[in-house]
Structures are given as C-alpha cells and as structure tokens.
Symmetry: C2
Subunit: 359 residues, 2 copies
Amino acid sequence: MNKYYSEAKLSAYEAIHEAQKIALGPFIFQASRSLVKLGILNKIEDQAEAGLSAKSISEDLSLPLYGVKVLLDMGLSAGIVWFDPETERYHLNKVGHFLINDEMTRVNMNFAHDVNYAGLAKLDEAITDQKAAGLGEFSKEHETIYPIISQLPEPAKTSWFEFDHFYSDNSFDRVLDKLFSFKPKKIVDIGCNTGKWALKVLNYDKDVKMILVDLPQQIAVAKENLKKAGLLERVEFKEVDLLSQDIPQIESADFVFMSQFLDCFSDEQIKMILSKVRKSCEGASLAILELFWDRQKHETASFVMNATSLYFTAMANGCSRFYSFTDFKSYLSEEGFNIDEQVDQIAIGGHSLLLCSKK
Amino acid sequence: MNKYYSEAKLSAYEAIHEAQKIALGPFIFQASRSLVKLGILNKIEDQAEAGLSAKSISEDLSLPLYGVKVLLDMGLSAGIVWFDPETERYHLNKVGHFLINDEMTRVNMNFAHDVNYAGLAKLDEAITDQKAAGLGEFSKEHETIYPIISQLPEPAKTSWFEFDHFYSDNSFDRVLDKLFSFKPKKIVDIGCNTGKWALKVLNYDKDVKMILVDLPQQIAVAKENLKKAGLLERVEFKEVDLLSQDIPQIESADFVFMSQFLDCFSDEQIKMILSKVRKSCEGASLAILELFWDRQKHETASFVMNATSLYFTAMANGCSRFYSFTDFKSYLSEEGFNIDEQVDQIAIGGHSLLLCSKK
C-alpha cells in the first residue's frame, strides 16, 4: 500500500514499458485467457522441468501450430512462460503457474471476462452519467444488476456466483466471537439478504433473537431458509425499502449489524441509511462489517477491491463501491456515530469490523 | 529480451499480484482509458508539483465525484497516480505522464480499444478455427479486414490508420542508402500497396526503374499516386494475386523488394510466395524489410509486436503475424535462399533488412 502514497520510482524506460502494458492490456488479457482455456499452460505444466515445444503442444491439443505460437509469444512478453532456445521448449513462470492453479486468479479472470469485459467498454459513459451503462450487455430494462443475477446468460451467471462465493464465503468466526463477547440478546440484521448471516448468528447462540430487515424479495428467501433450518421462532422480519421507507421503531436491540451492505449504496444513500438507523434503533450499537481498500495488509487485496468497484460502476448500479476507510468514517461522523472499536483483517477476505455508538 | 529466455525471478507474492493484474486486466485498461479520455490525468498534470484533489477535479471537469474517485483509486492500484494524504491531492506517476503525453501509448490504446477490444473476446475461437473470428464486430461477410478498412465505423477507422501510420511511416533513408550502395538499375516491389515505397525509390535515384506487383485494387491506387508525382514512365505494373497466380517472368532485375509484406501471410503462404519469386526473378537478390520480435533491442518493441500479432489473429486474417527471425530464416532456407547480409534496427520501428540470394 505504501506505493499509493509516494511517487513510483521507475526509470523512463520502465514507465514507458508499463504504459504499453496498460495501453495494450486487452491483448495480454485475452491471450492469457486463451492460454488457460485452451489447456496450453496445463500441458506445459504436465511436463514439469522438461518443458514442451510448441509443436508438441499443437499436436497434443489438436490446435493449429500458428495459434499456439502466437499465444505463447504473447505469453513470453507477459512473463507467463519462458523459452529455452537450446531445447526449443517452453516452461511456466510462476505467474503462469498461478494463472492455472490459483482459485482467486481463476475466479477473477472469469468474472472479468464473462461478466464485465463487454460492458466495461462503456465505463466512461457509466462515470459521466452515473449509471451502470455496461449492464445493457445483459438487459436493456434494468438499472441495476441485482434483479437479473439469476437470469444472467451462461457463462456470466456461473462466473458471477463463483466470484461472489469466493469473496463472501469466508469464515466469520472471529466476528461472531467479538460480537458475542458483549452478550447481546437481540441483533438487528439490516440487509439480511438470504439470511446466511442470521443462520450463523442463531446457531452460534441458542438464546439470541434477531430482527431481519431487507426488501420483500430478500425477506421471502431469508424466511424460507430459516424455516428450513427450524429457526423461525427467534426471528422477526421487516420488509423495508431503505431508499424510500423508514425503519419501524425497534426497541431494546443490542446491535444493528450490516455486513457488506452499505457498499451497495452511494455515499449520500449511506448517510441517509445511517440516519434512519440512528432514529429507529435507540440504544443499539452499530456493528459494520466492510471491505476498505485502504485497510488492507496486502496490495493485491486493495487492487482487487478497486477493480471490483468498477464492476459496481459499469455493471451493477453505477453508484456504489468498496469505500476507503477514510471516506467511510467521515460518513459515520457526519451522521453522529463514533467508532468505539475497529478490528481490521477480522475475516480472510480482509474485512474490517467497526463497532460504533451514537455521539 | 533476456527475460524471455530464463525463468522469471519473482517471489510467490509478486507472482500472484502479477497474475491478478492479468486476470483483472480489463478493469485496469478501461479505467486508464477513462482517466485519459475524461481529461482527469491532464487536469492533474496541469497542476504540476501541487497536485489536485478529487473534489477539484470533479468540479473543474463537471464530473461526478464518485466517478472521479473510483477511477483514481484504480489509478493508484495501477501505479498511474499517487496520493498525498497530507494534502489529499493526487499526483501523476511517470506511467500516468506517458499515458497522456506519449504518442505511441496514445496510438496503442486507441487501436486496442476502438479496433480490437470487442473482437478480441473471440480470440480463442480465432485460434481454434484459424480465422479472424473477431472481425464479425465490423463485418459478417468478410474473411479479412483489408477490403473494409476504409469503411470501418469511427472511431475504429481513425484509430486503425493512426496505428498504421505511426508504425509504418518511418524514415527509411538507411534502407535506401543500403540498397543503392549496390547501384541497382531495376527493382521489383512485390506488395507495392499504395506505391509509397516506390515513390521514395524513384525519387532517390533518377535512373532506377521499377516493376510494381500487387492485387488489381492496389495497383490502381499506386498507378494514380505515381501519375500525380509524374513518375509513371520509369514504372511497369503487374496485377497479380500471389495466392492464386504466378508472377510473370521478370528479366534483369537487381532486387526483389518486399517491405512488411510477408507478415500478412501464413508460414505456408510465405513459402509459396518465396518459391514463386525464386522462379520468376532469375538473378535478382531478395531485399526483405520486416519486423522480427526476437531481433529487437528494447523489450517494449517485442511486446508491441507480439500484441499486434494477435490483431492479425483475431481481427485481420486469422493466420499472419510478426514472425520471429528464427522461424522466418527457416522459411527462407527451405525455399533455397541464403541470407547474405542482415541489418537489424535499420529503421526507427525496429525493422530488419535481409539481403538474400539463391543458394
């Protein structure tokens, strides 16, 4: 992250090379994807130390030699493979190894290509008009991607769910341990979605009660899931569209929990929601679980978050993102919340837990 | 270029970061393009050392603050800008400077986006079927891009010509000096195209005669251009489709010149053309001006060539490319030509001149 806060030390030659890698980025991306999808990198890896010639790859995979070579030469330029002129065989670099063996890389590449690639071409329009201009690739009628996620054409649908699953299906044990150290009796879950988090909470503590708040469609799904789990009796449901409706008064809740919920809204909407929470849940503390790109230990995590924000911009809703903690805490402050405690990296995905109370 | 021939020395952490930069490459590319196109990088540069806040950029350019920030944060992750937390102002890194001030970078980015971006999504199909599968973005009827270049929709047309112009409009003075050191009296120009090279040759030496060979459409254009220049009387024209017709016998030529012509063909086609040249131009030497990605002094040049080859694959014809010298010399050898002299880097674009004679 340090590199974000001081001038990059590159020679002019290194910088101009880096600029070409950006300017011709789509060639690197698509060639890399083809090297993966057509099985070329896997074939090379199968040979381990020995490496493999372009001719053998072409024969083994029944691919035209021309195509194999044109991809591998781009792979050389992108540092994915290297070539031994003595044996005329290609070998994987570590980057090539990760392209085929690392789940995060696989999920990111498919998400980039299947969900975002075409729509991202309209990023400048999305920025200017503050609407998800790239969503037209999938639907001309909708302003956000959310209602049509389960109707996305394949492979977009699978790639969307794999991406979502990879980044949200973390172990949240430490979050639960932290929250229950305060011995809460009633937790409000705003933006409960399918009830996944509520299930964890209700199973963690056999006495805790919950109030789930979300749009009617989500509440219906959550209700169904909690019913299946036999957990309905400790739960109340409230159908609320937070953008147009107030939250009904909720008495004696210990926590209002919001997990990766506020990143679906613009800064102004976040402040409006915080203000509604402030009015409706007297006495409750706020427990916010969020991803902040400026609270990451690893630069790669910040990078993935900043890239994913552009999915929100171009494809999802045109107005939300993974915020910086710097901005986010100013929204809390403006709406009258203090941050009493902050635990960064509380879950594997790089989440921060903020415990807040009214000023 | 050395990095092509030995394993890259990266830590696992560096390699996994590099893999994410590839996997999420379209986000970097489109964000960078928007930072350029929307004038954000220029605004920052205008402030020189002082830098500029996101809020000022948003106000000065009448762009939503959300959009400015989401782009700049991607710019931080991509090393294009850096942020001073003291002043809350953004500054350009050298990479950002080149993105807006370097002509090669500008031309490459526009070529990548306007001509190639959409079609490159079909690169794997182009590889498998050995046809320009991405060309469907512009025409469903054509198998190669060549007949429709001047009918491409804007901005693709302008970006195509700017790219072509940037890389081919080099000074070829050293090539002419070299060729005329042999005091040639008659030069055959195969693939004369618009007659641009012929014009240079005829103006360089007031006595030299030329024979121009190309498809009928190209010959018509070349004839028109040479007529305008008042140079028709020293030129003969031969309309030949080299893929289906033989070259008529040509007597007493000193050189058969081919400038960036053979890279428009597949390896098998190149060998067929060389064989036809061998039969028709008894006694003439071959002078080939080509770009070889493995004869470049700068890694950036190799990279640009390997990327451009994928334009040939996905968009232009599905079968040609910038060859490696290693492969190219084997085609010459198979068709009975020796390389008598080779001058690398003879023109600014990184061209090599090969002077060849029959074995």
